[in-house]
């Protein structure tokens, strides 16, 4: 019996599988090359350029004692959750700039935080390798007492996002996996293996039928996953250094990445290839965070040189540069109605721009 178990089918030997994979990769590249019949800047040449773009700082949120590492908007377009190296998670009223809740985590470097779709839950985590969920309501002054640990990874939590309901949460980790969890029971629903380095960022597809999400990481690749089966359906390569952030284009047909190679890129899901690369010779610092305006025309990137570059997604040129902070811009996000941009920085503060 033992010999039967040990018997490895010839076609399943590591070498044979490797050869097969190489062959598939080659054919894949050939297929992709066939379909590239136009460049994006050419396709968009007849589109009017963006003129009179103006954006000013409207609010300054001060309160963190360390680098701001992550932020997320509530669906009410008013509240913001942020997390910091100081081990704190803060919930802000962005209109009044008041802090409504403060939670102290067991470890410093709270790298991930997220608002639940209902606006009544927030999640965060980091070096504790966990994702902890807190209820938020104004009547509750001590939300820490009602916390719930949901997810556990074998390395730091780098990112988290609720799915379309408060009942499930998707996490990404330095252990190079992503995982989907049931919030109520804390049980693992599905895990996603495939990255060969730390997962830095995840984003859910905005399309209604979409069970897709995208992840990006230190292996310089972005992967598109089917949440139902835990399967990787597309892999996008091209970046020359870590991918720090991924964000879906509002139609769900593409996604943008921000990388340590000082570029942002747009990857087209349906054509299965890179559609555009946003870079300039003068930009030499890494990009930590990206997000689109609600029409998808503008792409905002937060960089290590303390600035935010605003790109015209279609034409590929830079629309403007915001001297945003006094240190790295670590995170940014457009409000759900598209009226404002929030940026978070290693200068310990967040700013609202409109």
């Amino acid at each position: 019996m033992a010999t039967e178990v040990l018997k490895v089918e010839p076609q399943d030997s590591i070498e044979a599988l490797q050869r097969e994979a190489e062959e598939l990769k080659k054919r894949l590249e050939e297929e992709k090359a066939k379909l590239k019949d136009v460049e994006m800047c050419k396709a968009a040449s007849k589109i009017d350029p963006i003129t009179n773009f103006s954006m000013k700082q409207r609010r300054h949120l001060k309160g963190h004692q360390g680098k701001v590492l992550c932020m997320d908007w509530s669906t009410d377009k008013k509240h913001i959750v942020s997390s910091s190296q100081d081990g704190k998670m803060l919930v802000w009223d962005a209109f009044s700039t008041n802090k409504e809740h403060a939670v102290t985590m067991p470890t410093t470097w709270v790298m991930a935080c997220a608002y639940g779709p209902s606006g009544t839950k927030v999640a965060c985590g980091g070096l504790d390798n966990k994702c902890t969920i807190y209820p938020v309501s104004l009547d509750d002054t001590d939300i820490s007492s009602r916390k719930k640990a949901v997810a556990t990874h074998t390395s730091y939590l780098s990112c988290c996002t609720f799915t379309c309901s408060d009942h499930q949460i998707l996490t990404g980790s330095g252990d190079s996996t992503c995982a989907l969890w049931d919030v109520e029971s804390g049980q693992l629903i599905q895990s996603f293996h495939g990255h060969a380095g730390d997962v830095m960022s995840i984003d859910l597809s905005p399309s209604e039928t979409g069970n897709l999400f995208v992840s990006g990481g230190c292996d310089r690749t972005a992967m598109v996953w089917d949440m139902r089966y835990g399967e990787c359906v597309q892999v996008f390569e091209g970046h020359e250094s870590d991918i720090n952030n991924v964000r879906f284009y509002p139609s769900g047909d593409a996604f943008a990445t921000g990388s340590d190679d000082a570029t942002c890129r747009l990857f087209d899901l349906r054509a299965d290839r890179e559609a555009n690369c946003y870079k300039m010779e003068s930009i030499i610092f890494g990009c930590n965070s990206v997000d689109f305006s609600i029409s998808g025309r503008l792409l905002f990137g937060g960089y290590n040189d303390h600035t935010v570059n605003v790109w015209d997604v279609l034409k590929g040129n830079r629309v403007t540069k915001l001297y945003a902070h006094e240190n790295r811009v670590s995170c940014l996000g457009i409000s759900p109605d598209g009226t404002a941009l929030c940026t978070g920085s290693w200068d310990n503060t967040l700013k609202i721009w409109a």
Binding site: L6, V8, D12, S13, I14, L17, Q18, E20, A21, L24, K25, L28, E31, K32, L35, D37, V38, M40, A43, A44, I47, I50, F53, S54, M55, R58, K78, A94, F95, G194, E231, C232, V233, V235, Y249, P250, S251, D253, A254, D268, R270, A271, D272, A275, S293, I294, S295, G296, R297, L298, V313, L314, I334, D337, G338, T339, A340, L341, I352, A354
Partner: protein, 69 residues
């Protein structure tokens, strides 16, 4: 190489191959088609993009008239 380690590697390689195979067999579209859709999406939504065409009632922008008076 111990057997368990080897079989684990085979499984990993198999998964890699299967993922590539799925990726290879997906339905791909011409760039000209997908870009047209992307450009149309922008065009359709641009007028309602408050960061391109500022709206009068942006809660983050201070009102010009003094409300107290």
């Amino acid at each position: 190489m111990p057997f368990t380690q080897k079989s684990e590697q085979v499984i990993k390689k198999k998964n890699e191959r299967d993922a590539l195979d799925r990726h290879y067999r997906m339905n791909r579209q011409k760039v000209s088609v997908t870009l047209k859709d992307m450009i149309n999406f922008c065009r359709q939504h641009q007028m309602e993009d408050p960061l391109i065409f500022p709206v009068r009632e942006n809660p983050f922008k201070e009102k010009k008239t003094c409300q107290i008076l």
